[in-house]
C-alpha cells in the first residue's frame, strides 16, 4: 500500500495521465487537421467516432475476427468523414468560420439522432479481445492497463506516421501549404479540394483509431458517446494552439495530465470543481497565450 503523495502514487497517476493523454491526443489530431485545412472546428468529429464504433460493432456481430473489426472501424470512420465533407461542408466552403462551426454542430445533432433511430439509444456492450483489456502489475501496487500502452503506442505510431506524411511526402506538403495559404496553394497548382478531402479522411481515420481504444476502455457504445470526446479534443486543441498537429498532441497530453492530477489531488470537498478548473485554465491560457502553449506569441487582439 502506498499513500497519496508517495512516489508510487505519483508514478501511478503519471501512467494514468499518459494513457488518458494519448487517447485525447489521438482525438485532437483529427480535429486539428481539419481545422488547419478549412478553418472548421468540426464538432461532428465525435459523431465520426460514434459512427466508427457502431460500424465496428456491426462487423463484430457478424462474427468477423478482431483485426478486421478494427480495420473496419477505422475505415468506416474515414469514410464517414469523407461523406460528411462532401455533403455538408464542401457546399459551404469559404463560409465564415462560425457558419462552418454551426453546420458541424447540426451535422452532429443530425447523425446522433439518426443513430438513435437506427440503433436505439441504449448502450451496447462492445466486447474487446483480452489483448486490449488485460492489465499488467509490474511491481508493488502499480497497475498498467494494457489499453494505456496500446493508446500510447498507437498514438506514437499514428502521429509519427502523420509527421512523416506531412513533412516528407508531396501530398503531405501540399496539405500544409493549403493550410498555410489556400489561395497561394491553389495558384501553385495544388488542388485544395482534394487536399481537404484527404485531411478529412486521415483525421477521421485517427478518430476511428481513437474510438477503438476509447471503447476498449469503457466497454460500451452509445449514440451520444461522441459528445465528451469532441469536447476534450477541442480543449486539447485550444491548449496546444489550434490547427497545429504538434499542438494538438501536446494539448492532449496536457489535458490528460490536468484532469488526472486535479482529480487525484483535490480534496473531496472541492474535487467536484475539477472541470471548472480545467476550463478556467483554458480561459487563462487564451488570455495569456492565445496561440496555445506552442503558439508563436500573441495572436490577433483588438
Amino acid at each position: 500500500m502506498h499513500a497519496v503523495g508517495s512516489l508510487e502514487f505519483w508514478i501511478q497517476q503519471m501512467i494514468n495521465a499518459l494513457g488518458l493523454g494519448s487517447q485525447y491526443a489521438l482525438m485532437a489530431v483529427g480535429l486539428a487537421m481539419v481545422f488547419a485545412v478549412m478553418r472548421l472546428i468540426n464538432f461532428a468529429h465525435g459523431t465520426v467516432m460514434m459512427g466508427g464504433a457502431y460500424i465496428g460493432l456491426l462487423l463484430l456481430q457478424r462474427g468477423l475476427p478482431f483485426p478486421l473489426v478494427a480495420a473496419g472501424t477505422i475505415l468506416g470512420a474515414a469514410a464517414l468523414g469523407v461523406l460528411m465533407e462532401r455533403i455538408a461542408y464542401r457546399p459551404i466552403r469559404g463560409a465564415p468560420d462560425v457558419a462552418l462551426f454551426l453546420n458541424s454542430f447540426a451535422v452532429a445533432v443530425f447523425l446522433e439522432n439518426i443513430a438513435v433511430l437506427l440503433f436505439s439509444p441504449r448502450s451496447r456492450p462492445f466486447p474487446m479481445p483480452a489483448l486490449l483489456t488485460q492489465v499488467f502489475h509490474p511491481w508493488g501496487d502499480l497497475f498498467i492497463p494494457s489499453i494505456h500502452l496500446w493508446a500510447f503506442g498507437g498514438a506514437l505510431l499514428a502521429l509519427g506516421g502523420l509527421a512523416f506524411f506531412v513533412t516528407r511526402t508531396r501530398i503531405g506538403l501540399a496539405m500544409r501549404a493549403a493550410a498555410e495559404n489556400p489561395t497561394a496553394a491553389q495558384l501553385m497548382g495544388i488542388e485544395v479540394g482534394k487536399v481537404t478531402l484527404l485531411a478529412f479522411a486521415i483525421g477521421s481515420a485517427m478518430a476511428g483509431l481513437a474510438v477503438l481504444f476509447w471503447v476498449a476502455h469503457i466497454g460500451t457504445v452509445q449514440p451520444g458517446m461522441g459528445f465528451e470526446p469532441v469536447l476534450k479534443a477541442f480543449v486539447a486543441c485550444v491548449i496546444g494552439g489550434f490547427g497545429t498537429i504538434p499542438g494538438a498532441v501536446l494539448g492532449g497530453y496536457l489535458l490528460g495530465a490536468l484532469e488526472i492530477f486535479l482529480q487525484g489531488l483535490l480534496p473531496s470537498a472541492v474535487v467536484g470543481y475539477r472541470d471548472a478548473l480545467v476550463y478556467a485554465v483554458l480561459i487563462f491560457l487564451l488570455l495569456v497565450r492565445p496561440g496555445g502553449v506552442l503558439g508563436h506569441g500573441e495572436a490577433e487582439r483588438i
Binding site: M1, H2, A3, V4, S6, E8, F9, Q12, Q13, N16, G19, L20, Q23, L83, R86, I87, A88, R90, P91, N113, I114, V116, L117, L118, F119, S120, P121, R122, S123, P125, P127, T133, V135, H137, D141, F143, P145, W214, H217, I218, G219, T220, Q222, G224, F227, E228, E259, I260, F261, Q263, G264, S268, V271, G272, R274, D275
Partner: protein
C-alpha cells in the same frame, strides 16, 4: 456545386427513409409493424370495445435520459398491449399515448399540458428523473389528473407535487438504507463512497447511504465524485489504492450506462473487495461489460429479474419483453414501466370510472398488489409504495438473490 447539393438532398432523404423503415429502430419496433398499438387508427388486436381509455405516457425518448426512459416506455407499452389482449379495462381498450419530451423540462411541461388539454388523458405515467416529474407534476395536480412516475425515486416528490402524484418504485432512502444495513452487517464498518455528481438519482442515493451508514456507526474512509460522461476512472482508482488500508466495501452510486465501465476499471486495477450499489446496477450491461469482473458485486433493487426467476410473474415479463423487443429488459426501468401500467389499470378497474379523483382514491386503496418489481402498497398517507428491497449478488456470472429485506430505519426524505 449544384449537383453536389442535390446529391446531398437525396442522401438526406435516403437516410431518413432508411431510418423510418429500419427494423428494431425506434423504441417501438413492434414486430407486427411500425404503427404503435396505441395509435388510434391501428386496429387494436383486442376484443375490448368502446372508446379507448387514454393514458398519457411522456418519456425522454431522445437526449441524455433516453437510455433509461426508452426501456421504461417499452415496458409500459408491453403492459398496455397485454391488458388490451386480455380484454382491456372496464370493457374498453387502453390507449397509451407515448410522447417524447427530449430530455427537456420545458418540453415535458408542454407535452403534459397537451396530453391533458387536447388528448383528454385520464391519467399520466412516465419519467425517471425528478426534473421532469417536477416540471410536469404541478400541471397534472392542477388538472386533477393522477400521475404515476415510473422511475423517479426521490422520496420528496409527493410532498413537492401534491396528492395526485404516485411513485411506482420505492424511494431512494429505502434502498440506500437497505444497502447500508446489509453491507454494514455483511462486510464491515468502513466504506469507500463514489458517486456521479452530474445526476440526481446518484447524488440522492449516495447521500442517503452515507446518512444511514454513519448512523449505524460506519466510517466513510474516502469520498470521491465524478461527472456523468466521465469514462476514465483511473485517477479515482489510484486514490483508492493509495488508502493506507482498504475499506470493507466500496459503495458506488452510478447510472446504468456507467456501472459496467466502473466495475471493470476498478477490478482491472486489482480492487477485488465487494462493490455495493443501487438499482442502477440492475442492467445486463453490468455482466456484459464487466464480465467475470462483476463477481462480488452487490446491489439493492426491486426484484430479481431473470429469465429463471422463481417468480412466475417475473419470468413471464422477461420472456414477453424479450419476444417483443429482441433483448432482455435493458434496465429495471422496463419492469417499472410495465408495473406502472398494470397498477394504473387495476386502479381504473377498481374505481369503475375514469374520473381523476376516483382513480386517485382507488390507487390509495391498493394493497398487496403483485407486481414484477415486488408487492405494491399505497395508502392515503403514502404515495410511495412500501415494497421490500431485494439485494442481488453477482455470482457465477449471474444475478442471484442475496437477501430480501425491509430497512430497520429509513432516513427522512
Amino acid at each position: 456545386m449544384r449537383p453536389l447539393r442535390w446529391f446531398g438532398v437525396l442522401f438526406l432523404i435516403l437516410i431518413l427513409a432508411a431510418a423510418a423503415c429500419a427494423p428494431g429502430a425506434a423504441p417501438t419496433a413492434a414486430p407486427t409493424g411500425p404503427a404503435a398499438p396505441a395509435s388510434p387508427t391501428a386496429a387494436p388486436a383486442t376484443p375490448a370495445g368502446g372508446a379507448p381509455i387514454r393514458i398519457g405516457a411522456p418519456f425522454n425518448l431522445t437526449g441524455g435520459m433516453a437510455s433509461i426512459d426508452v426501456p421504461a416506455a417499452n415496458g409500459a407499452r408491453l403492459a398496455a398491449e397485454e391488458i388490451n389482449a386480455a380484454g382491456g379495462v372496464l370493457g374498453r381498450p387502453i390507449e397509451l399515448l407515448i410522447r417524447d419530451t427530449k430530455t427537456d423540462p420545458a418540453t415535458a411541461a408542454t407535452v403534459v399540458t397537451q396530453l391533458i388539454e387536447q388528448d383528454k388523458v385520464v391519467a399520466v405515467i412516465g419519467f425517471n428523473d425528478s426534473d421532469y416529474v417536477l416540471a410536469a407534476g404541478p400541471i397534472c395536480q392542477r388538472a386533477g389528473v393522477p400521475f404515476i412516475t415510473v422511475g423517479a425515486t426521490s422520496p420528496r416528490l409527493p410532498g413537492q407535487v401534491g396528492d395526485m402524484l404516485f411513485l411506482a418504485p420505492f424511494g431512494d432512502n429505502v434502498q440506500a438504507a437497505v444497502g447500508a444495513e446489509f453491507a454494514f452487517e455483511k462486510f464491515g464498518k468502513t466504506a469507500y463512497l463514489l458517486w456521479d455528481k452530474g445526476a440526481e438519482y446518484t447524488t440522492v442515493l449516495a447521500k442517503y447511504f452515507k446518512e444511514r451508514f454513519t448512523e449505524l456507526g460506519g466510517t466513510i474512509v474516502l469520498e470521491d465524485t465524478y461527472q456523468s460522461g466521465d469514462k476514465d476512472f483511473s485517477a479515482q482508482i489510484a486514490k483508492v489504492k493509495a488508502l493506507p488500508q482498504q475499506p470493507a466495501f466500496y459503495y458506488i452510486s452510478a447510472l446504468p450506462d456507467d456501472v459496467g465501465t466502473i466495475v471493470k476499471q476498478f477490478r482491472n486495477a486489482g480492487i477485488n473487495g465487494p462493490i455495493v450499489g443501487g438499482d442502477g446496477y440492475d442492467t445486463p450491461l453490468l455482466l456484459q461489460v464487466a464480465g467475470p469482473a462483476a463477481e462480488n458485486v452487490f446491489f439493492t433493487t426491486h426484484s430479481l429479474l431473470t429469465a429463471d426467476s422463481p417468480n412466475e410473474r417475473v419470468r413471464k415479463f422477461v420472456a414477453a419483453y424479450k419476444q417483443k423487443y429482441g433483448t432482455e429488459p435493458e434496465a429495471v426501468f422496463a419492469a417499472l414501466g410495465y408495473d406502472t401500467v398494470y397498477v394504473l389499470a387495476e386502479a381504473i378497474r377498481r374505481a369503475g370510472s375514469t374520473d381523476g379523483q376516483a382513480i386517485k382514491k382507488a390507487l390509495e386503496s391498493i394493497r398487496d398488489f403483485p407486481a414484477v418489481t415486488g408487492v405494491i402498497n399505497y395508502s392515503p398517507q403514502s404515495h410511495i409504495p412500501q415494497k421490500g428491497v431485494t439485494v442481488i449478488e453477482v455470482k457465477g456470472g449471474k444475478f442471484t438473490l442475496a437477501a430480501e429485506r425491509v430497512p430497520q430505519k429509513v432516513p427522512a426524505p
